[in-house]
Amino acid sequence: MTRKTIQVNYLARVEGEGALKVVIRKGRVQRAELSIFEPPRFFEALLRGRDCSEAPDITARICGICPVAYQMSAVHAIERALGIEVTGALRDLRRLLYCGEWIESHALHIYLLHAPDFLGYAGGIDMARDHPEAVRRGLGLKQAGNRLMALLGGREIHPINVRVGGFYKVPERSALQALVEPLEQAREAALATLAWAAEFDFPARERDYVFVALRHPQEYPCNEGRIVSNRGLDIDAEDYEREFGEIQVARSTAHQSRLRDGTSYLVGPLARYSLNFDRLFPDVQRAARAAGLGSECRNPYRSILVRAVEVLQACSEALRIIDGYQAPPQPAVEFSPRAGIGWAATEAPRGLLYHRYQLHADGSIAAAYIVPPTAQNQSSIEADLADYIQGFLDLPDEALRHRCEQTVRNYDPCISCATHFLRLDWDRE
């Protein structure tokens, strides 16, 4: 039987360096291996010995697209270790900043990275020539997120205004009011995005995922909540390491996370949505249903719709926060250093982001441990490929390769977070 190897040097539109190998024997997909060869980045070791107040700015550098997530998990974990709590307007501002990142990150992925897969383009720039109105809408959405980031974070990328206890500087109410009109336009654009993406042709593929996400008593999760699953898990972040573990695989510089019983699980938009549909605003729920989504979504190709729902939710939430905002008297809660340990998980655009810090009595960091969403999703990406690609094996090689890439891009993987482009190897006999 002929043995065939197809090698693709770059899988574009994912962040980071990696490779994908699909092994096919006798017409069956035997296994799919995602290898990440992004060099290790040593952030956890870099943090040791630094003052805990430096953690939000150091960890923000892990990712250019979701720095707020790193800042938020860092400050929440450190505040827990220090025994301080950030409430009221400061908490709202953090949530508002996170809304900015969700809008920015999701809009970029929907329009420039993921939609080209559905509309048959090599990338967002090619798509823009034929679909300029759609791309303008996407860029406008992203810009609304950028503006929130710039106002609250000090700049669009790697914000510099987040500190343990709150912010260095908080905005006046009038400054936030200036964002109302752009956010209202963004909300309309998000609704249009949902209606646009609902017309795409989605492969009918579903798996029985173990969904893991935060859940909050009232809110669609972002900064706070218990870690829950659709298998009955319901824990505080303190117990994360009891339930989840990381394994090393020889092909990857990123760890792979599993539940302690070895099961792979999924974090990110599908998990968040499926575990928290009832926490979406009623009009957002209606918009999701109108786009053809149920209260749960197990088809990762439809994640583009779920991201659009989350952008809509984030725009509405941002407007709600701005409407009720009164500048707090102090930009941050003061704290005294002390020895301790703290844990936190927040919802990065790509899913649950766990941080643990152990502090010395002088506030310096004794140990840091960070589990990014893409590390948690790696084994789920492999399982999707092994499972879904089987049904596409009769496609011509080029189309099949594209389908593999799309299957990876469903996750909007941030490989540089987890440890720059994907090489694809077919091993077919």
Binding site: E15, G64, I157, H420
Partner: protein
Amino acid sequence: MAGRFLVVGIGNPQRGDDGAGRAVVAWLRGRLPQAVELTVQDGEAVALLDRFTGTAAVWLVDACVSGRAPGTLRRFDAVAAPLPEALRSCSTHGLGPAQAIELARALGQLPGRCRVHVIEGAEFAPGAGLSPAVAAAVPEVGARIASEVAAAWRATGADHA
């Protein structure tokens, strides 16, 4: 005149020679017609694209790494052709100036004149200033841009004010 003139210095002043674009904009202050807008930016594509709106002519100035001698100056006419592959950002999530230009072209939003000046950098260490070769190149690239802006400005028939 129809549309603004804009000069954008791109880069991070905290990262050695990546501050070159901003240094050129600082040098240009007071040396251009008042109506010409000078701004600095980190190079994020969507924010940059946003600045192109209503702009008739734009000059971008940035540092680059291409293996040439530090301080080497190069100029590209981005209206005539896309920037060379080697000047494109290697990140897909972090879209840079080259992607902003191509998106603008695809969307029909590229200003009628778009010149990109790049200075070859040597050192990009956090907290470092400009390296001597790059610092020495700043007035030269500034003077080139000032000359181009002045010529384009005269062509619009506007007063030098």
